[in-house]
Amino acid sequence: MSTIVYISSNNGLGKSAFEAVTYAKKMGEDVIAVTVGNADSNVLAELGQYGATKVLVDRNANSDDDQQITKVIASAVSSTSANKVVFSHDLIAKAVAPRLSVRLKAGLVAGAISLPSTDGGFSCKVNVFSGKAFGNVTVKTENKIISLLPNSIQPEITGANCSVEDFNGNAGDSKVKVLSTKKPEGEISLPEAELVVSAGRGLKGPENWGMIEDLAKELGAATACSRPVADIGWRPHHEHVGQTGVAIRPNLYIAVGISGAIQHLAGVNGSKVIVAINTDAEAPFFKAADYGVIGDAFDVVPKLVEAVKKFNASNN
């Protein structure tokens, strides 16, 4: 039996692609990566280093059309007699994995955070209640699909580049026409980021975000914000984290001037380490944080930026 990993390769290969292949490899069967679009074969071959034995590319399918991608993966499943499909739980997977679940009659674990356990049935751990608890999802079907939450395992290099083969997945016609694609440049995608610097209403206004961006830049972190900050338009909506925004689980989450309301914590309490900076010693964030600084962001953040600069300089 083999395991198929679907890779979104529109923007080259991200860390989440390596995580998904590593995860599939750890499941113990032959790993075949599948992608669509026109990524460079030399780049795709790197998936071999993480455990793929080959990469199948359908260069005719539209990488923005979930219906076409679904058909390509289904063809790959039948031609390789795979019984498991792994995705990284990104925006493409959120559209494609449910479709594939219906097409293959395969139960889907959406947002897995652990390798499957096979004692007493096939099950995986996921976040539920927006990160306030964990659930164990048991898949009852013969075929299985797992969509892996980014930053849940570390990519591991175990081998060398693998072969990349053209594949015709019979994607059919595309019913979705892409009119335009806007990508903010130079930013680190929030769900994939290992380090995140986030700020809230305590910053008083959008003009004060310079120091937050400086801190993020020094750390190599992505920026995020609380909901009211996105609602009033101080920051773009895609930065809004929490129960009704993006749920993230970076290694480090630094919260500046955010009170720590339950709906905010729901989206960030999967972070490995949390630092809270707040003037109010009673702010609820301190109950969820590992490190706390009681102080004014306008004093503390510039000092922290300097300290990180010093650290970076001495580590180079």
Binding site: D64, D65, G111, T181, L195, K287
Partner: protein, 246 residues
């Protein structure tokens, strides 16, 4: 335009999360249910706005039991025309999606909308599954939806950016922030909701692909270590040496 909006119940965002029966069931004791915010704020309100500009009908559908009629009445009070309840307690995304898809197939809608995900199980699965069952295009995580005749232009979130796509009706979309603004039902809406038609239909199949077999709570956090605001070098050193995250 005939629009079908899928709504789900979800525990109020401040609910205490706990489990019973040896951690196999969500403890509903004292939990207040609301309409899942994505379904209500974005999918339903955008459907109503479309109806208000070009005419049509907005039907809401939920898979749920009698107790869920409270959230159905809320959605009707906000302005939906009629409602369908498929009589079952859903435990699996495929189970839910297949019931809704069957109804949608039999009653042919131009647009089927869901919320981005529910705030309790966060699966983001039902919309895509309905689309596959109906063999329709699916625009996931749409933040904008405009119609011109039978052509729809939608914006959707892509990794770190925004994409504009065009599809023809019929299609399925899941709705995220940006799509519309929350509406508070008024007294007239609440009164009218009482007499709007609600059809209850039995389940069509019991097929499930997955089930939640147990739950666990995160480990309690150890106490927060306080750092002197004058000493950010110490914080950086702790993040490096102790937490090992930088």
């Amino acid at each position: 335009m005939k629009i079908l909006v899928c709504i789900s119940k979800a525990p109020d965002t401040t609910s205490k999360i706990a489990f019973t029966e040896n951690n196999t069931k969500f403890d509903e004791n004292g939990v207040q249910y609301i309409v899942n915010p994505y379904d209500e704020w974005y999918a339903l309100v955008r459907a109503l706005e479309i109806k208000e500009t070009i005419g049509g009908n907005v039907t809401i559908i939920t898979v749920g039991n009698t107790a869920d009629e409270a959230i159905i009445r809320k959605a009707l009070a906000i302005g939906a025309d009629d409602a369908v309840r498929i009589d079952a307690e859903p435990n699996d995304a495929y189970f839910t999606a297949s019931q809704i898809a069957k109804y949608a197939k039999e009653n042919s809608f131009d647009i089927v909308l869901t919320g981005k995900e529910t705030i309790n199980y966060n699966g983001s699965q039902v919309g895509g599954m309905i689309a596959e069952e109906l063999d329709l295009p699916f625009i996931s995580l749409a933040t904008k939806l405009d119609l011109n005749g039978t052509t729809a232009t939608l914006e959707r979130e892509i990794v770190g950016g925004v994409q504009v796509v065009e599809v023809s009706t019929p299609f399925v979309a899941s709705c995220a922030k940006g799509m519309a603004e929350q509406r508070i039902p008024n007294m007239r809406g609440i009164m009218a909701a009482r007499t709007k038609p609600l059809t209850v239909i039995p389940v069509s199949s019991n097929e499930e692909f997955t089930s939640y077999t147990s739950y666990t709570m995160p480990d309690a956090k150890s106490a927060c270590k306080m750092i002197n605001p004058e000493n950010m070098d110490e914080l950086v050193a702790l993040l490096h040496n102790e937490a090992k995250v930088i």
